[in-house]
Amino acid sequence: MAPFIRALTTEMQLYADHYPETRFGTLYLGGGTPSVLDRDQLTAVLRAADTCYEWIPAPERSIEVNPGTVTRSWLETCLDLGINRLSIGAQSFRPGELVMLNRIHSAEDTVHTVKLARETGFRNLGLDLIYGLPGQVWADWRISLERAVGLEPEHISAYILTWSGETDLGKHILDGGLPEPEEDHTAGLFLKTHEFLVKAGYSHYEVSNYALPGRECMHNMQYWDGTPYLGLGPSAHSFSGKKRWWNVRDLPAYNAMLGENRVPVEGLENLTDEAVRMERIALGLRTNRGIMTALIRNKSCADDLIENGMADIDGGRLILTARGLLLADEIAVRLTA
């Protein structure tokens, strides 16, 4: 782990002088399992972040953790380092589903981690859940939702299962061992989820994300509203407003390049105005802020959406309804055409 931490802090230093005017507003440690970092490693990373960049007062700082893998002292270290938000990979509260998803933790681990986090002083918790599993009906999914809401997290991410033949689960579906989730059925679960969580006081602010008022994940919102971001670590992506670039995926290659003080960039693209427009539409449609109607060329398509209850207009912005969100990709293609 030590070479990686050294490489990561080197990468931070390489970018340090590039953002003299910028004050960073959020930090997100995720994609992978950052909770495997011990307290010293975590400290080294955060110290480097504090040294290399300017920060606004009390920035949102999140870290992803798996249930049952963190201790009270580790959580205390997080708080000391300014990490004030936990994203807990609960996935499900039903033992059978956790097995299907190849998770080693239990529902009790999730409950325990939430309790521990509250006791340590975390005021901002998010739970990640997956639904639309093979054979899963609303009554099954509702159990996980109820238990999640019962823990009173500030934030809930509810993802529809995306499967492919490359995963164990996908292979099982393909070889007939598990029933293939049926799209119309999953669409029904999506709408029921929306109804359930909205009733529980959460706002549906992005396709798969719900939050109590004011508790939206600010970091993720920036991906969708076009704010530039800097991604660090293997296969991390960055965005400057005009360019997107991404790091090498391979950890040894990443470490080696930074060992030579080279930025570990694998690819870069310059965005045309049209590409920017397409991103604005495709990403904006996913959120409850929608898109500016000025971006839309195909006005009759927009009118159809409104007429059919898939979108509303509010303050010069086109915002998808829950039924519209289910077709966000299809609608994006139509509106960009």
């Binding site: 119309d184 993720n220 296969s235 992506h237 965005f239 077709l327 990709d329 299809e330 960009t336």
Partner: protein, 598 residues
């Protein structure tokens, strides 16, 4: 070249019976081509032809052969197209020859297409050299096929040559037979120049290149020539004979086969079957047998993107320069906008044109359901020929409708006759007569409406006979039929480009099949799509494409955006290949749905 040393011949064979392989052997043994330089099928030089294994455009080649009698002979092999769509071209190639090698597969025996070409050859008084090929195959039935040939052609056993073109067995004997049995060309060297165009191709740098057989007189380089069908004159810039490449000469004489290049800018001025003569010393009459190519099948071709209409027009113009059988005129459809009504020799020709437009001219096309021409007599006594269902007058104004009929010849093993009878009944066939080729195979004659055989008749025939049936047809004229227009409505709006004219008895079945095929081809959309088939105002079939409920990526964070946008761009490109009809997006191939109906 001395007339006495020339032999003009072609090879008649069913597809896959070994024409190209034998041509390869002849070229090799006359050193016209070295084995190293040889691509498999030397006479086929279009990419598309090679993929389909069909010789679409005929060419010719002159081979020099030193015979055992000590003389050198000039053997002109004229290639012939091998598909029913191109039977007129075949007849002109045959007319340019004095003899034909008739190849029969030792395992398959005589096939219908071969039979009809044998008749054509006989009409042109060609000497036939029967050759049984593939005698090396384990499945060869040499004796049986030999008897079949003897019986059919009325020849003696010793006249039949046994060869394997693939293995190079028996090829020498073919040269002997060509020289000894096929007469040298006739014609009068002192008469005014006349040459028969048996093929014509377009070259972007040189204009039309007429491949021709000199029948009388001689032509010198630089002389002013005249095409007798249209009276147009051109200067013969270059004349020559055909090796694997063109080889210019100073003059072409009676009996020779060669080419004429005369800066002819449009292939339409240099048509297959026409006679070339001299402008200042013209022949009195042209050679017999010329006719304009007649399209049999018509369909609409529309650009998927309406802005690309000029490009499509341009592509069709250019394609027509080297495909004189192609005709087109502007068409407008309320569903598809502006495009062209295009006439083809047959369905294969249509597919070739479509592929060439897409591949060579980079066009994104919508091709509509092909149909035949019909004649409508109106109540007021006037009559019109229409090639587009949309032009059909109101039913109340129609007195009668006639459609083209064909005479079909089908040869197949006796055991499949029952299957054939069933198929022909389904296709409104009229049985005429049967004759036995030998004890196992029959030659059946039928009449069919052309519209019943243009789609998949040949495929059906092949499958019902396990591949043994063969088929040939010719047009015999218009006859009255009880035809109606079947309309397709998408979400209540008629889509003219999907209309078709069908026999009343089949309208219901077609309606069912067409709507369910469209249901398969039209992807789910954001709203429900109702597909109906109707006769006039009466709906006879209906299906529904359910609304798409879900199409959304679950996770889309910083690292997913590039991939997401690229996917979006790809989907946008895919949408471009769809045609928006009302609010419904219809994929290109749905307009040809009828061809996919089994």
């Amino acid at each position: 070249m001395l007339k006495q040393s020339i032999r003009n011949f072609c090879i008649i064979a069913h597809i896959d019976h070994g024409k190209s392989t034998l041509a390869d052997r002849l070229l090799e043994m006359t050193h016209t081509v070295t084995p190293q330089a040889m691509v498999d099928q030397v006479l086929d030089d279009m990419e598309l032809e090679r993929e389909r294994g069909i010789t679409i455009k005929a060419h010719a080649v002159t081979m020099n052969y030193r015979h055992s009698d000590g003389n050198i002979y000039h053997l002109n092999l004229i290639d012939t197209p091998g598909h029913v769509d191109f039977s007129y071209e075949v007849s002109r190639s045959l007319a340019a020859c004095e003899g034909a090698i008739l190849i029969i597969d030792a395992a398959q025996g005589i096939e219908a297409q071969t039979v009809s070409n044998i008749y054509l050859a006989m009409e042109n008084d060609l000497v036939l050299i029967p050759v049984i090929n593939k005698i090396d195959l384990p499945s060869a039935r040499v004796d049986e096929v030999k008897h079949q040939v003897m019986e059919f052609l009325g020849v003696e056993e010793e006249e039949i040559l046994l060869i394997s073109a693939k293995e190079g067995i028996g090829i020498e004997a073919i040269f002997d037979a060509i020289i000894q049995r096929i007469p040298p060309p006739g014609g009068d060297i002192n008469a005014p120049f006349r040459a028969l165009i048996f093929d014509s191709v377009f070259d972007y740098y040189r204009g039309a290149i007429a491949y021709c057989r000199v029948v009388d007189g001689e032509l010198h380089k630089g002389e002013l020539i005249k095409f007798m069908s249209n009276g147009k004159s051109f200067e013969a810039d270059e004349i020559g004979i055909l090796r694997l490449k063109r080889q210019p000469v100073e003059k072409l004489r009676t009996g020779e086969v060669g080419y004429v290049i005369a800066s002819v800018k449009n292939l339409k001025d240099s048509k297959v079957g026409d006679t070339i003569t001299l402008a200042h010393h013209a022949a009195k009459s042209p050679l017999p047998g010329f006719r304009d190519p007649k399209p049999m099948v018509f369909s609409g071709m529309f650009p998927t993107d309406a802005d690309e209409l000029p490009e499509l027009r341009n592509a069709l113009e250019r394609l027509q320069l080297n495909d004189s059988a192609l005709i087109y005129e502007p068409e407008s459809s309320s569903a598809l906008g502006f495009g062209f009504r295009v006439g083809f020799l047959g369905l294969l020709h249509m597919e070739i044109v479509q592929e060439r437009l897409e591949r060579e001219y980079n066009q994104s096309l919508i091709t509509t359901i092909p149909n035949v021409e019909i004649r409508v007599t109106k109540k007021d006594g006037s009559s019109i020929i229409i090639d587009n269902p949309a032009q059909l007058p109101e039913p109340m104004k129609i007195e009668a409708i006639e459609e083209p009929f064909i005479k079909a010849q089908i040869i197949l093993p006796t055991e499949y006759v029952g299957n054939l009878m069933k198929l022909s009944q389904e296709r409104r066939g009229i049985y005429k007569n049967t004759s036995y080729i030998d004890k196992n195979r029959v030659d059946l004659h039928y009449e069919f409406p052309l519209s019943e055989i243009i789609f998949d008749f040949y495929d059906k025939l092949k499958s019902l006979s396990r591949g043994y049936a063969s088929f040939d047809y010719e047009l015999i004229g218009m006859r009255k039929s009880d035809l109606v227009k079947l309309d397709v409505l998408i979400n209540g709006d008629p889509v003219d480009a999907l209309s078709m004219i069908v026999h009343r008895d089949k309208a219901f079945e077609w309606g069912q099949k067409l709507t369910s095929k469209l249901k398969e081809l039209i992807p789910r959309q954001m709203f429900e799509v109702a597909i109906q088939a109707a006769l006039g105002s009466k709906v006879i079939a209906r299906t529904t494409v359910k609304a798409l409920r879900k199409n959304v990526t679950a996770k889309c964070y910083g690292g997913d955006i590039t991939r997401k946008r690229k996917l979006l761009e790809k989907q946008k490109e895919g949408k471009r290949r769809m045609k928006q009809v009302g609010k419904v997006e219809i994929p290109q191939d749905a307009f040809l749905a009828v061809l996919q109906i089994k």
